[in-house]
């Protein structure tokens, strides 16, 4: 009881009552309990099953020497340029065999992680670029790597389908072996390999289609 309240109670004249504080602490406790109940109701149940986890990975066979990491080097100073690209043999999300790079024409490998916001920005750009005929002379292959069922935008298959990706896809294994074999150290990661299997160009990060056009123009 406050001092001002104590002063009341004597005298016959009714006096204005001093307002007490709102019961904030009990309200806060009640809110926390209510939040817990609502959370259980809204998100409870058996929990979301991260389905299709296994199909988002694929066994990858690597033939050849692993490329060194790009490690921030500019494409001009990339130690992997002119090296023989390792051949990756694996499957897509449906289990169909996929082998990259192609021996018939240049191959642009795009290593992408479903959770990566830069990959999420790059893939639609590439889809539009391919639809506009930008990749007519090159085989574009997406390598789904670093897949993580706990990470956002799961599954990579649903993501690529949603973005309208129609080019071949190679599903990397859970250890990211394909990415490691190509020296991937960031996402998205590009590697252009000519038809003889030699690395022509690598880059890490979002790339504009103008840059891709310029790089492809250097191919013989």
């Amino acid at each position: 009881m406050s001092a001002s309240t104590k002063r009341r109670g004597t005298g016959g004249k009714p006096k204005p009552q001093r307002r007490g504080g709102l019961p904030v602490v009990p309200i806060a406790i009640a809110f926390v309990v209510l939040a817990a109940v609502v959370a259980l109701v809204l998100a409870g149940g058996d929990g979301e099953v991260k389905s299709d986890a296994r199909s988002q990975y694929g066994a990858v066979e690597i033939d050849g020497t692993a490329l060194p990491p790009l490690a921030g080097a500019t494409p001009d100073a990339d130690p992997a340029v002119a090296m023989a690209a390792p051949t990756l043999t694996g499957t897509n999300f449906e289990g169909d065999p996929v082998t990259v790079p192609s021996s018939e024409r240049p191959t642009l490998l795009v290593f992408a992680a479903h959770w990566c916001p830069h990959c999420q920005a790059e893939i639609p750009r590439l889809v539009d670029w391919m639809a506009a005929g930008g990749a007519e002379d090159v085989q574009v292959v997406a390598v789904s790597t670093a897949a993580d069922p706990q990470a956002p935008n799961w599954t990579p298959q649903a993501w690529l389908e949603r973005e309208g990706w129609e080019a071949p896809v190679l599903a990397d294994d859970a250890e990211g072996s394909a990415g490691s074999a190509y020296g991937v150290d960031g996402y998205p990661f590009f590697t252009l390999v000519d038809e003889s299997g030699t690395v022509v160009w690598r880059a890490s990060g979002e790339i504009s289609t103008e840059v891709l056009d310029a790089v492809l123009a250097t191919l013989p």
């Binding site: 406050s2 001092a3 001002s4 002063r7 006096k15 204005p16 001093r18 307002r19 007490g20 504080g21 709102l22 019961p23 904030v24 602490v25 806060a28 809110f31 926390v32 939040a35 817990a36 609502v38 959370a39 259980l40 809204l42 998100a43 409870g44 929990g47 979301e48 992680a113 959770w115 990566c116 916001p117 830069h118 990959c119 920005a121 670093a146 706990q150 990470a151 956002p152 990415g179 991937v184 150290d185 960031g186 996402y187 998205p188 990661f189 890490s204 990060g205 979002e206």
Partner: protein
């Protein structure tokens, strides 16, 4: 308990914190709401340190839950926010218990700095290019959105809600009415008298 349930729970707490903070701001800015401000302040006066300690404790526990139970690795900006939040929990708890340290202004400053980092983290989530890179660090980029509840509540949003709530709680004067002018016409001008009685 699934990560989804816990995330929904934390998101609801964050919304509750938003309501408190927005109410505090509204009752400070709008003169007609000042009596409400006084009553709210009276309701928590004397408990603000305990409440702030509880908020930082829940935020710390939530942060550790995400990294150690859910398996979401904290990014660089997460660590900076942890640097502001984690020390507040024992400091506020000890201060609430012993009541000896003049911690309040420093804790409020730490909470506001933490909130500023949270805002930057939210911007990085929304505009990944702000991270100063065009590629995702293969390890753990700050732009990675691990949790998104109700379409907008992410982990740094939760941190922002906690930091701002702590700052508001620590802005309530512990030993006197928030503002004598907050009393409306029907109140006795008794608050200052009571204090001196």
């Amino acid at each position: 308990m699934s990560v989804d349930v816990m995330s929904t729970f934390f998101a609801l707490l964050a919304l509750g914190a938003n309501v408190v903070v927005l109410t505090a701001i509204a009752t400070s800015v709008v003169p007609a709401l000042r009596p409400v401000r006084g009553r709210l302040a009276d309701g928590v006066r004397g408990s603000t340190l305990v409440l702030a300690a509880v908020v930082t404790g829940v935020a710390t526990a939530g942060s550790l839950y995400y990294s150690e139970v859910a398996g979401f690795p904290p990014c660089r900006l997460c660590w900076i926010q942890r640097g502001f939040m984690y020390p507040l929990f024992p400091a506020l708890t000890l201060t609430a218990w012993r009541g000896a340290w003049p911690l309040r202004p420093w804790a409020r400053l730490a909470a506001l700095l933490g909130a500023a980092v949270s805002v930057w983290h939210l911007l990085v989530e929304r505009f990944p290019g702000l991270e100063g890179a065009i590629a995702c660090d293969a390890a753990n980029p700050c732009s990675l959105v691990w949790v998104k509840e109700f379409g907008f509540i992410t982990i740094p949003y939760m941190a922002f809600a906690a930091f701002t709530l702590v700052a508001v709680l620590l802005s309530v004067r512990p030993d006197s009415p928030t503002d004598a002018r907050a009393c409306d016409a029907s109140d006795e001008p008794s608050t200052s008298k009571a204090r001196t009685a």
